[in-house]
């Protein structure tokens, strides 16, 4: 695919609009979803300060006008895990699809609908949470009672992603009609795969909310089965992390190599990785439930194997992305075994943020394998080891990559030059140092037995766990991450409000292939076939579980505990 098509500005569209491809009526909902995502990052991230300081007994939630630590924790989880990730994913993947297919999205109605449902969902959920009627954390486990508005809001956020999924599939189909017998362009393909995976993955939480939780909260069902509800939740709950991660992978595979002057190894291997993620992301949910009492052990073992399978594409990613970076470093004059690393453009905040995110992901992935390792999970399950782990994956590999992407995406969308580049560099490094201290503290404290999602600052047993130093590391690291977040918003607001107009329209930096789509076997372009494989694997992983588990044990009425 060509990375140098000629850009043209259209009236009111800033630097980005290329005639006939980027339509203004599709760009504003994309920008709108990005704005919602960043609002989620700002407010959700601010709550992190309250949580970090809580670790050393500094309890500030009342100062933030919150009823409890857990209300703040709910805001942190819902805004960062759902709004930030969904909003950014919808916006970024839609834009990459337009660029990849070199045509507008198939439906303007769907992309605008995705924006409006996301806005409505955010307002409903925020209203319920801020009124302390949904202090149930982002996992909203039954039988905790929460306002129906909260579930409706969460459901609308999911609907917004599904509208995007439908739009991407329709866009690919339209492209295929226009280009019969050609391989789908990679940049379009990976986005469609991401959202098709999510469409399959979201089924669990959709069924949970629509057929169980909403009717039960509204009083149409008197009782529900908490164990079965958890099975439905975690059906979606692990695949969702790949839904968060895959937009970052899109950038690592297809954008960052261009930014560092390298090329992608091959079209076919990237397709292989995304297809493996499509088929293995969903049938793995039970590894979050290794210590659940009601789940047959044999099914836990089945999910152990599928979980290890889904690690595989990430290991391949570690090699392939690194190889593309090395290609870039050597093209820039890097010599010797490691000399190419220093030649990478570390002075570019977009590159630096994403390279640091990748480095942290190595540790995040390794600790994830610990969680997935069946009996080893006994030691870490629901301890602070887990947030230590996932602040290196979603909290950095994903979040810091998204931040890095916005360092070119926001200038691209706004037509304004990035301001405060050195501040942006400092932001990336501060996050990197912060998360390493934070994760070191959380992981060590978790191994000593400190529970996760608990207000340690108010816990009477705080001094019975000898994690004093570790908790300080968590507090300092978390505070550095919040400061880094503040620097980020200074840079972004500075750029938007006072950035110089770009003299030349920007191009989306898309990497060249060493081996392009032409060399790819047709099977790697057969999305329907691989989706079917995914469905079969899900059936193997879940139908025996349902057979062994049923009948339902509906014994729990809603209970309000906050």
């Amino acid at each position: 695919m060509s990375a140098t098509a000629r850009p043209q500005a259209v009236a009111g569209g800033g630097a980005v609009a290329r005639e006939g491809v980027f339509l203004a009526e599709q760009l504003w909902p994309i920008k709108g979803q990005l704005a919602l995502a960043l609002i989620g990052l700002a407010v959700g991230g601010l709550m992190g300060l309250m949580q970090a300081l809580d670790r050393v007994g500094i309890v500030i939630y009342k100062g933030l006008l919150l009823q409890s630590y857990y209300q703040g924790l709910t805001i942190h989880g819902v805004l960062l895990a759902f709004l930030f990730t969904f909003g950014f994913g919808n916006a970024f993947v839609s834009l990459m699809a337009i660029r990849g297919f070199e045509r507008p999205l198939a439906s303007t109605f769907l992309v605008q609908g995705a924006f409006w449902t996301m806005l409505a969902g955010t307002l409903l959920a925020a209203y319920a949470i801020l009124r302390n009627q949904a202090t149930v954390l982002f996992t909203f486990y039954a039988p905790m009672r929460a306002s129906s508005l909260f579930y409706l809001g969460a459901a609308l956020l999911v609907v917004s992603t599904l509208l995007t999924a439908l739009n991407l599939v329709l866009t690919r189909r339209a492209w295929q009609r226009e280009h019969p017998a050609e391989r789908t362009p990679l940049l379009g393909f990976v986005g469609v795969v991401t959202y098709v995976m999510w469409a399959l993955a979201s089924l669990g939480v959709v069924v949970l909310v629509v057929f169980f939780l909403l009717p039960w909260q509204l009083g149409w069902l008197k009782t529900t089965d908490p164990q079965f509800n958890r099975i439905l939740f975690w059906y979606t709950g692990h695949a969702i992390v790949y839904f968060w991660l895959m937009p970052a992978y899109i950038s690592w595979y297809l954008i960052v190599p261009r930014q560092v002057g390298g090329r992608v190894f091959s079209d076919s291997l990237v397709r292989l990785v995304f297809i493996l993620l499509l088929i293995f992301s969903v049938p793995t949910g039970l590894h979050h439930q290794y210590v659940d009492p009601g789940i047959p052990t044999v099914m836990k073992v089945v999910h152990l194997f599928t979980t290890f399978s889904v690690v595989y594409p990430s290991l391949v990613t570690a090699f392939t992305v690194m190889a593309a970076l090395e290609d870039g470093g050597r093209a820039r004059g890097g010599r010797g075994l490691l000399g190419w690393i220093w030649k990478l453009p570390w002075g570019d905040p977009s590159v630096a943020a994403q390279l640091l995110a990748m480095l942290v992901f190595i540790l995040g992935g390794a600790t994830g394998i610990v969680n997935a390792s069946y009996n080893l999970n006994n030691v870490v399950h629901n301890t602070s080891f887990i947030p230590g782990h996932f602040h290196m994956t979603v909290g950095t590999a994903v979040a810091l990559s998204f931040i890095g992407i916005t360092y070119w995406l926001i200038p691209y969308l706004s037509g304004r030059e990035l301001m405060g580049r050195r501040l942006a560099l400092a932001q990336a490094w501060l996050w990197f140092v912060g998360v390493l201290l934070f994760a070191r503290g959380q992981i060590a404290a978790g191994l000593l037995g400190e529970p996760r999602r608990s207000s340690i600052g108010e816990a009477p047993y705080r001094d019975l766990i000898s994690a004093g130093l570790d908790n300080w590391l968590t507090a300092i690291g978390g505070t550095l991450m919040v400061i880094s977040g503040a620097l980020y918003f200074i840079v972004i607001l500075w750029t938007l409000l006072a950035g110089r107009r770009l003299a030349q329209p920007m191009e989306i930096p898309v990497a060249e292939m060493r081996f392009g789509a032409r060399e790819t076997a047709p099977l790697w372009d057969r999305l329907g076939f691989w989706f079917l494989v995914g469905v079969i694997l899900v059936a193997i992983a879940y139908i025996p579980l349902f057979v062994l588990y049923l009948p339902l044990n509906s014994v729990s009425p809603p209970i309000k505990v906050y």
């Binding site: 958890r230 009601g294 047959p296 301890t383 505990v561």
Partner: protein
């Protein structure tokens, strides 16, 4: 499909690495005997106070250094929240929740289990060293979640 030699080597190594991990887990389970909790039955959380053994929570001596500790988890306490056993005891913890989801994690041991309304949870730990072993509720269960804990005193 076109794959570079180095890439092929790495793909094989990645597969071997994961296989090694599975072997390690199997050794942990089959040789060292570290297991994950298995289903131990269902129970109605609304009728815990009349359902044995949860109608009489507490420690039972099963003889031969074996004990069963029956614990009821409710927002926001364990009942009982302290048990005392001699050094060398093996204690099976049998738990049920009377309201929302709770957790049970015994620090310094492999005993870690969710306590989910409708399900009976069971984990076992052996105490070879004297001292106090803290257990905590590790699943968010409401406003007073962080106050929910207990301990095993080993003499």
């Amino acid at each position: 499909m076109r794959i570079e030699t180095y890439e092929r080597i790495f793909m094989v190594l990645a597969g071997l690495m994961l296989a090694l991990g599975i072997v390690g887990i199997a050794i942990g389970a089959l040789v060292a005997g570290v297991h994950v909790p298995s289903p131990a039955g269902r129970v109605d959380p609304r009728a815990l106070s009349t359902t044995p053994p949860f109608d009489q929570p507490g420690l039972r001596d099963l003889g031969g250094g074996k004990y069963e500790a029956v614990l009821v988890a409710r927002a926001w306490q364990f009942q009982p929240n302290e048990i005392e056993v001699p050094v060398g005891s093996t204690v099976t913890f049998t738990l049920a929740s009377s309201d929302v989801i709770h957790g049970f994690e015994l620090t310094g041991t492999n005993a870690n289990v969710m306590v989910i309304p409708g399900q009976i949870s069971q984990v076992t730990a052996r105490f070879d060293q004297p001292g106090e072993y803290l257990w905590v509720c590790h699943e968010y269960c409401g406003f007073g979640h962080h106050q929910m804990y207990g301990k095993v005193v080993v003499r």
